[in-house]
Amino acid sequence: MSALTSLKVRMHFESLLTPSVLFFALGMFAQLIRSDLKLPPDLIKSMTVYLLLGIGIHGGAELAHASMLEAVPALLAAFGFGLLIPLLAYWIIHHLGKLDRLNAVAIASHYGSVSAGTFLTAIAFLEAMAVPYEKYPVVMLAVMESPAILVGLLLANWVRRQDNPPEQEANQHLPVILKESFTNGSIILLAGGLLIGDMVPDNNLQAILPFFNQMFMGILCVFLLAMGMEAGKKLNDFKKAGAFLVSFGVLMPVLLGGLGVLVAHSLLGFSAGGATLVAVLVASASYIAVPPAMRIAIPEANPSLYLTLSLGVTFPFNVLLGIPLYYQMAQLLTKG
């Protein structure tokens, strides 16, 4: 083994020893041994609020020194991903996996959206290894929450219209869900944070940074402990999901992560750090905003399928293995 390879292996191993990943693993472990450990639900929601605001403010403060025009390609890419991934995922799940159409739509929609928890873990990973990254992916995170819900709604209507004549009240809820998908809580917090970080003069921002910056990594760890437990709970539901869907939950992110790295490198010109973040956006599946939207839009679909896949399979895969993998890909490409 060459010195370089051994270094890479060591680096990989050390990277698994970041506190964030270990806390996530601790949470899964607690769930697997069926410990009675329980984090208060209001604590978990509070940490989500904090982390979204924090990442927004941090990103906004950095964007304040940049021109808005430079962000346009990243934004376009984000929209493109949000619109196309659900179609791709739908095709795979329905045509290759033979799952019924409405369940396929519901699952596909989750993969087109993003998981802020995975994104934050990736940030922690890069920070721990002192890898620099571009500031635009945070904006992409905010943008990518909603379009996949829109595509999911349209797909579901199309499926329903194919199945039976359009006399039904099929899209009665469409405007409501659409509005909700664009005004949902995470977007408000993330976009609000970005704006405030961008608008507030630096010296006024100083007073709030000890809270929003210095506490960030510690609170992220407790959040990932909670998320490990949530993911662990879903592990029991693997059987219900079946072999095809579980493999989908692992292979789809690898495919999407590769796509993300490629686009980030060749079209956006991002560094290895930034490309890793884009890969994570593309490869992760939503487990906060999309599930309730699909529950209303497609009541026929089985929630435990999409919750198990996004929260029980893809999320832990990305946190434990996906992120270092995408970083490797990104390094190969940017160095190659």
Partner: protein, 97 residues
């Protein structure tokens, strides 16, 4: 003490607003509401986890006169049809203030 019907409706939390609107549309403005209700049924989700607030149930208790009962039931039935849930009706006496 006058005889009333006690309606107990358990539906998913995401339908809360629709239930309230439908009740208002038939001029029922009084109800009691229990949130964060768990449950398991035909389509029920046992535990949707930390972010599953919207997957929990809510329970409405509505006391109404015998004459109104049919109107209320007809107003609520479409919701039960689409998303499932439970609706029980029983007899009770209302204690006048």
């Amino acid at each position: 003490m006058i005889g009333v019907k006690r309606i107990e409706l358990v539906v998913e939390a995401i339908e809360k607003q629709e239930v309230i609107s439908r009740l208002e549309s038939i001029n029922i403005r009084s109800f009691t509401l229990y949130q964060h209700v768990g449950g398991y049924g035909e389509r029920g989700i046992p535990d949707a986890g930390a972010f599953g607030e919207k997957f929990e149930n809510v329970t409405f208790v509505i006391a109404c006169s015998e004459n109104h009962l049919q109107t209320v039931i007809e107003a609520l039935r479409p919701i039960l049809k689409r998303y499932g849930g439970m609706c029980l009706v029983s007899d009770a006496k209302w204690i006048l203030h």
